[in-house]
Amino acid sequence: MTQRGLDLDDIVERALGGQRRAVGRLLSVAERGGAEADRLTAALHGRSARAHIVGITGPPGSGKSTLVGRLTAAAAASGANPAVLAVDPSSPLTGGAILGDRIRIDRTGGDVFVRSIATRGHAGGLAVAVPGAIRVLDATGFDPIIIETVGVGQVEVDIAAMADTTVVVANPGTGDAVQANKAGLLEIADIFVVNKADLPEAEALRLDLERMLDLSHVTGHEAYRGRRAPIVLTESLSGTGIDELWTEIIDHRSLLDASNARQLRQLLRLRAEVEALVAGRIHRLTRAVFDSSAGERALADLASGRIDPVAAAEIILDEGTASLGS
């Protein structure tokens, strides 16, 4: 049963018909995971219209949401039907979150579909929830799908890297170039944005980034990405540079489409999703074994020193595999 007594097939039907409330419900189903999310995946896989997935990432407060608002406006002006997934961290202590991206996106964007997603802490959660959310938005006609994540933490960086086009945002005068390098953001960037270019030292940051790109030319990384990432200066409060950035994003899409690179990136996304689904199932399976009498026995034997941790792990795995067959 879906919350509020509605049948999943019915909601899918209405979402495909363009009802935003139904799209909102489906996003909750995808986010929650479990059996109903599995059914949703089955219903929507194959209906994908292959939207362009654009990841926007960078340090906290670098102006990502303000920029995303501007980009949605640019996309809408060019006749596209954009949607946004804005990912913010959950509190690890309480599981709660204040999702504050949307207020900034709304301020510079138009009447665009925005969904705020909290990381919800559970291991691998985002790795399943985000592809699920993308599938819903793609099947219901949104294109491009812009995903905002904070560029700290491996999961968030991985999400951004899953995009067709990954945009890395940095600010002048902050040491962001060095930080981005450390956080592994340089390797995933298809386009760099120096945002808040109205502040001093924007040009210095551009030169820093250029030097790092020179290096990636030497290391062969550039060849792996297919080209040298362009650097765009933007002022997302005023809108300066946004048209240029939008053009770069479109050009990158065309570049990917000219080869089979976009299909390859989609395949990598699917592979990552399958990996996360498998990991989630194994996790649930082993937890069930731990709670069973066999699991308790193994732990007791471990505590008394009769067996070592490796032997305990073998027992848990054997029990889990056996329960699959039954």
Binding site: I98, L99, F113, R281
Partner: protein, 139 residues
């Protein structure tokens, strides 16, 4: 093979907004933190929101409740308008109102479908309890 249903119930998703053109959002920020600390996901809209925008946000975010902060005389017209706009859109999302509400206005607001009314001195427990029971009593 299909996975089992997810074990935990997902967090409540609450939209917080202030309608109209008045004032500050200090009180609303405090409520946002209270709800976050109680494990809710707060979609924070802040000041100067329109009724129509809140409806659109509730749809996109699939929110479980709307919290409105009211510090002017507008509560008697704006809060019922919010409830009506949600119902017109086919949403049964409960609306909780907080702020300085004179006692005589409490009954009319309830009549208009406001699920709970909280005074400025409401404790963290009262705020969280009001939102949870408003959601729980929604069919």
């Amino acid at each position: 093979m299909s996975g089992p249903p997810s074990s935990e119930t997902p967090p409540l998703r609450v939209v917080l907004a202030k309608l109209g053109f008045d004032g500050h959002d200090r009180g609303l920020r405090v409520v946002a933190r209270l709800l976050r600390d109680a494990g809710c996901e707060v979609i924070y809209l802040g000041l100067r929101q329109s009724v129509d925008n809140v409806v659109a946000v509730v749809e996109q975010e699939d929110a479980d409740a709307v919290g409105l902060s009211m510090h002017n005389a507008g509560h008697l017209t704006l809060a019922p308008k919010m409830v009506q706009a949600l119902r017109d859109a086919g949403l049964d999302t409960p609306v909780v109102v907080g702020g300085i509400i004179p006692d005589v206005d409490v009954e009319p607001l309830r009549q208009a479908g406001v699920a709970a009314i909280l005074g400025p001195g409401a404790s963290a427990e009262e705020v969280v309890h009001a939102v949870r029971s408003a959601v729980d009593s929604t069919p």
